[in-house]
């Protein structure tokens, strides 16, 4: 039996995959403790798992896009979050005495503290942003990010130490090599596919409103600033308004929109994993969790990437042929309607989504991630 400390970011998409892996480790008799925001973690990990709280740093849905978002992600979040959590992660390691530290790729304190204490550690890539190497043609942008990372390493007493974004022992990515275009990665990288856990807090859903005679489309942009999201949803509702004869849409909107017709259900949240098998298409921002959940059920996509790793995920979806791409800000309702009808009509999109699903199944998911962590803990 081994003891694992999972170091997390306070964002749903970054907690969901580790929670699924922790469940598998627990069934194998291992212990998992958590470092992170207790308020964010509890709904996923249950009442009993030990939590070493880092406190909660305010992190609003970011309205920024493109390079402005790269700058605010590092200066506004990763750097201050690392400084803020370093003492509490150190305390967690000293009190819990884990055999292995497992840390989110952007919770840099996890890798820094593990190195400082001479512990083996693993990286969880809950996004594709660092795997896609988006700045290989922009050396000054890459150097700017590396500058922040090495400054944090030096502050943690590890000048010139290993990059805390990438464990030298084990990097687990929650996507498949097939999805990322079969780029080559070092041997200590494990592409395990999505590790999905159903939301533990049961979400209600009006299942009886789903009409089996019509096709079903989910529209969601995940966690995003409300005004940015509502602007997108407003255009999506206009796009789907004339299609009530043939489809029903579920739109995850934080606010209501006046005059929404019967076939468009605006709901603040839904049980997305449970809903997915009932869907014929998903319109989304190309966040990794939503994309993976859809492809894992062979559901084709309309992607409108907004920020961070979303352009990478969206580009892969298009390259594979599992969906079509729209511009998040500029897509007009008529373009959105055409995109939805395209993926619903041409069976090639669903077939390509099915190929991604097969690659996910072969990658092994949470059990495969757990097996790699067990090997690391055993010193293999």
């Amino acid at each position: 039996m081994s003891r694992f400390l999972f170091v997390t970011l306070p964002l749903a998409g970054h907690i969901n995959p580790p929670a699924a892996v922790a469940t598998v480790l627990a069934t194998h008799g291992h212990e998992v403790a958590w470092s992170g925001s207790e308020a964010r973690l509890r709904p996923w990990i249950g009442p009993d798992a030990p939590v070493y709280p880092t406190g909660m740093r305010l992190f609003r849905g970011q309205p920024d896009t493109g390079f402005t978002a790269v700058k605010s992600l590092w200066k506004g979040f990763i750097v201050p979050f690392t400084r803020f959590t370093l003492p509490s992660v150190e305390k967690a390691v000293r009190e819990y005495r884990p055999d292995v530290v497992v840390t989110d790729q952007h919770a840099l304190a996890g890798g820094l503290v593990a190195e400082r204490n001479g512990l083996p550690w693993a990286t969880f890539c809950t996004s594709t942003i660092e795997l896609g190497d988006p700045f290989r043609e922009l050396p000054k942008v890459d150097a700017w990010i590396r500058g922040h990372v090495s400054a944090l390493s030096a502050e943690a007493g590890l000048p010139g130490g290993p990059d805390p974004r990438f464990s030298p022992h084990l990097v687990i990515a929650f996507t498949s090599a097939f999805f990322l275009g079969d780029r080559s990665y070092p041997d200590h990288y494990a592409m395990v596919g999505p590790a999905l856990s159903a939301r533990p807090t049961a979400q209600s859903f009006p299942w009886d409103r789903l009409d089996p005679a019509r096709r079903h489309v989910l529209v969601t942009v995940g966690t995003m600033a409300d005004d940015v999201a509502m602007d997108f949803y407003d255009r999506a509702v206009q796009a789907l308004r004339p299609l009530g004869d043939t489809l029903q849409a579920i739109v995850i909107a934080p606010e209501s929109l006046p005059g929404t017709p019967e076939h468009i259900m605006l709901l603040p949240r839904v049980p997305q994993v449970e809903l997915m098998p009932h869907l014929d298409a998903v319109v989304c921002h190309a966040g990794l969790n939503t994309v993976s959940e859809a492809l894992n059920c062979g559901v084709p996509l309309v992607v409108a990437p907004h920020t961070r790793d979303q352009p990478i995920n969206g580009a892969e979806v298009v390259r594979i042929g599992a969906g079509v791409r729209l511009h998040f800000h500029r897509a007009r309702p008529d373009q959105m309607r055409t995109a939805v009808l395209t993926v619903l009509t041409d069976p090639g999109y669903r077939a390509a989504a099915g190929r991604v699903r097969d690659s996910f199944t072969a990658a092994g998911g949470a059990p495969a991630a757990a097996a790699r962590l067990e090997r690391l803990a055993a010193g293999l």
Binding site: F67, P134, W144, H148, H329
Partner: protein, 122 residues
């Protein structure tokens, strides 16, 4: 960032109009969208140009002006703040300069300005 000082006038106006046409092609937007574009329009904050569209724009510029206009090389020499602030006028100035000296591949690094070290500040 600011465009290099270049003579205003018909040549410049013409290049701006051509760049706007390339932007329309790269984005698939309509003429009304293009009407709002000036030299000072920022690619990211004002036009929401994403990385794929920027790549397409660089390729379109090369197709229409020839290999000496290498906007991709120019962009790759920029730092984060320079990319965030990049304007349509900056691209026009690049085209103008590359065509003036007609040297292949020289369009890039020299013009980025503010050499290195951004990552060390803080």
């Amino acid at each position: 960032m600011t465009a290099e000082p270049v003579q205003d006038g018909p040549a410049r106006e013409q290049l701006l109009a051509e760049m706007v046409a390339l932007l329309r092609k790269a984005t698939g937007e309509d003429p009304r969208w293009a009407d709002e574009i000036t030299s000072a329009t920022r690619l990211e904050a004002d036009l929401f140009l994403d990385s794929l569209e920027l790549t397409a724009l660089c390729e379109l510029a090369r197709d229409s002006y020839g290999d000496e206009v290498d906007l991709a090389a120019f962009v790759s020499g920029l730092d984060l703040d320079q990319i965030i602030g990049l304007t349509v006028g900056d691209l026009v100035a690049q085209v103008e300069a590359a065509r003036a000296d007609g040297l292949g591949g020289a369009g890039g690094s020299g013009r980025a300005g503010g050499s290195g070290g951004a990552g060390k500040k803080k």
